[in-house]
Symmetry: C2
Subunit: 330 residues, 2 copies
């Protein structure tokens, strides 16, 4: 999948300029990069005079509900009349747009696909996939700039959200010098992002603390303190009233412990099955192998599986397999 297969920004820009009605959507269970990218592109095209519909199969998560103009994001209607162009952003597989978005998109004359996931199979009529970009939001910045499309404070706030959340506040290895130069340029254009960061990173519902409290009280260390794990019961989630987004990043509390090489979270779902999330901090430990045993998979350093319950049994079986794998690497 070489960069040469990308359609040019100019070509994509021309198609959008010639369109009257445009629909834009990201992936199901949207995160900061998905919401930030679709609102940034959508708002810019609105400012440029286009009729734009910004769609999302699932609602904007509560932790992003403070963002400016997120009210523009709507759940997909039956169809959109005279839809000239549909744009899929940050969505590695077409299915992940969601059934309702796909139904609307099916009526479009042209499908544009812009993404930073290297595995994206280029399902659009026009495609721009850049896996060296840490966020789809970074591609959107470059695109808007190259086409001279409007970038007001709303667009800049959404691009910042997209880039900042997908780089862990500029800490991940995907962050480049260009990433920092983009932020500098947006600040020079008049944006200050500290209040946004305050809301994005330093504001959370009490529910979040209750989950952390349960994690810290119930977590287990095993395999000579090399595994840190937590089994989150469905009962606890009901008690706390967990909302989408509340559990995000909880595994990092276990991951950060000095000496731990594999943090695991077992999440009991409403149907009694158990969602396993596991990470490796040691290049020699391939956690996807362990997940494969239970019908799951993923990456070497970050994988998952869904197991049959009950919770305690799934926990024990998975931890035994993981411990065996850890023993194998010595």
């Amino acid at each position: 999948m070489s960069m040469a297969m990308n359609d040019s920004f100019d070509h994509i820009g021309e198609v959008l300029r010639n369109a009257e009605t445009i629909a834009i959507a990201g992936h199901v269970r949207p995160d900061g990069d998905a919401i930030g990218s679709i609102v940034a592109l959508g708002h810019s095209l609105m400012l440029a005079g286009k009729k734009v519909r910004i769609l999302s199969e699932d609602k904007v998560p509560l932790n992003l509900a403070f963002l400016p103009e997120v009210g523009l994001v709507e759940q997909p209607p039956e169809s959109i009349e005279n839809l000239d162009v549909a744009v899929a952003l940050d969505t590695a597989v077409k299915d992940r747009l969601g059934d309702n978005v796909n139904r609307v998109f099916a009526g479009a004359k042209v499908l544009v696909n812009m993404d930073h996931h290297g595995t994206n199979p280029r399902y659009g009529h026009l495609n721009y996939i850049e896996m060296t970009s840490p966020a789809t939001g970074q591609i959107i910045f470059d695109f808007l700039k190259s086409q001279g499309l409007p970038m007001d404070a709303v667009v800049r706030d959404h691009l910042y959200t997209a880039i900042s959340t997908d780089t862990g506040s500029f800490q991940f290895s995907s962050t480049t010098a260009h990433t920092h130069r983009i932020i500098a340029e947006m600040m020079e254009a008049g944006s200050q992002f500290w209040e946004l960061c305050q809301k994005l990173y330093n504001t959370f519902p009490l529910r979040r603390l209750l989950l952390q409290k349960a994690l810290l009280n119930e977590m287990k260390l095993s395999a000579g303190n090399r595994i840190a794990s937590w089994a989150m019961s469905h009962e606890l989630q009901s008690e706390i009233g967990t909302q989408p987004g509340d559990t995000e990043g909880l595994i990092d509390m276990l991951r950060g412990i000095d000496g731990v090489i594999s943090p695991v979270i077992f999440e009991e779902m409403a149907d009694g099955r158990v969602r396993v999330s596991v990470r490796s901090k040691d290049e020699r430990l391939d956690v996807s192998k362990v997940c494969l045993v239970f019908g799951g998979g993923g990456h070497r350093m970050a994988s998952g599986a869904r197991m049959a319950g009950p919770l305690a049994v799934a926990e024990q079986r998975f931890l035994e397999a993981l411990e065996d794998e850890i023993k194998r690497i010595g």
Copy 2:
């Protein structure tokens, strides 16, 4: 204190170029900006052929012990022979260099004072105070660059640490476009900072989790959930074996709770006295006024005090005063 009172980088550079032996130090209880700044400047001057001693009254904290070449940081000797220039970095008040550093510095022919604290009274023979800089490390970058002094990977790692920690990973309001451009420039020079970030932000001793667990189990909400507070007993700290740095940022767990406008931590010290740290999230609430009542002080949004024990009494007295102040703003 206008910028016009600053001595020029060229003047400071000339003094350093003409020196043979140079000592550099930061403040007591050093943080990332202090350690990062003194090692960055010191290592650069060593590369430039100077005889450099990098001093710190207190040891490098455990969470920064992974940084390259921190072994260069030494506790102050009795004196340094033929000390031409002493450089104080990131130290708002001369006393905060520490008694032993001040004794060594007293033997220097020239004292240079570079800092980003606006309240710095310019106690050096040469001074460069830039309060718009988010970190002393950012001043050091500009200085080294302006003087064409060496910036190798070690220097860049320390400057990154200084800037990143003092801006909360580029999230604080002090972060500027220039800050991001500096990071971009250092990445273009060949640095990648993600492993450093991993160690800086995502690695912590189990002790840290035990403190968080106690905080979550023992925290109290009061004043209609607008105050979140925790009283940390000395017994707990002994049990856990708390080290310097372990408690840093704990208050942010309370600070982030939706609806809370004033997080407070009461820390019982070995002598039975109680160190109070308090924050305000509401412009109308001036927490320094409450601290002043108990002989403390600080800023409107972040203050502290030291109170007589026992812990439970200090806690009650302070919370009552804080609640009264909150009632006053309505």
